[in-house]
Subunit: 177 residues, 2 copies
């Protein structure tokens, strides 16, 4: 199993201006890349805000939605499961999937970083500056994690850049879940 | 005159873990790039914390230090001027310099972004994740600024990346200072 975090950020490292900000600011080329990667993933994990902001495109995919609004697990349909990651054994939910795509937002990315569960990271840097907004992660403690740069690709002539990283402590902690 | 912002960030867009965090986490190759660029600049502008964190290397350069601890301007030596950007006409201080290097931190970068004074931006992305820390900018209002990607360069085999951007609203506001 491989957990791949997929992130689009501004030059100043923000994933959105606020929690209601949709992803309409990303480039068409990033959207094509994202959809291809999701097509090749077996399940998508998102936080509830991110899910609500992208409910239409996500409703056709198999999704696990992280939320505090359920105690443990609530299966809504074959394609949609709500779960509270604090109160469940996540490995029971995802162990049978080969590729897990992690789409954010901040709290969800942070959960996976804190537990050292991110195997790979795709970051698209769009050529604009927000000046404020939500960071990718919001950990309580600092614990620098070293990643390895696998590739850099220019997605278009506007200057959208796609960076691909691998966690140097690859899959170390999944057993502990 | 050209104002060039020079920034080193983690993958997650942080310039430091906190305001006392020095720049010892950047790669040797980024330091070489930075020193070459500073050698070709006529003056460096920094905030007081950034200056104190790098006082030894900066003391040999011509510096303007932004601080609230002076009312207007305090000239300490031929190489060192303290000023309060809220109470002075910045153009009087820097109009005769050809290349102004802007080294941060957050408040200083934000002042220049808010006033649309950044002509070019060099960002080095070091291949690590802090998980928390200081953002490049901290504006009160969002006002997305579009930049143009000029180049991408791999600085080393560890995966440090140097991105070079140009402000699409180039030098628009300097007259207004």
């Amino acid at each position: 199993m491989k957990i791949i975090a997929i992130v689009a950020i501004s030059i100043d490292g923000k994933i959105a201006i606020n929690s209601h900000h949709s992803s309409d600011w990303t480039s068409p080329e990033d959207k094509i890349f994202l959809h291809n990667l999701l097509d090749n993933s077996n399940v998508v994990i998102v936080g509830n805000n991110t899910y609500k902001n992208a409910i239409k495109p996500l409703s056709k995919r198999k999704c696990i939605v992280f939320t505090n609004s359920v105690d443990t697990i609530l299966k809504k349909s074959d394609n949609l499961v709500y779960c509270n990651p604090q109160n469940i054994k996540l490995s029971d939910l995802i162990r049978d999937y080969e590729i897990v795509a992690l789409l954010g937002g901040t709290q969800t990315y942070t959960y996976f970083l804190k537990n050292n569960l991110i195997d790979e990271l795709f970051i698209t840097i769009e050529p604009l500056i927000f000046g404020k907004g939500l960071s990718i992660f919001d950990c309580a403690d600092e614990k620098p994690n070293r990643f390895q740069l696998l590739s850099v690709k220019k997605l278009n002539n506007s200057g959208s850049l796609l960076l691909h990283y691998k966690n140097e402590n690859h899959s170390a902690n999944f057993k502990k879940l």
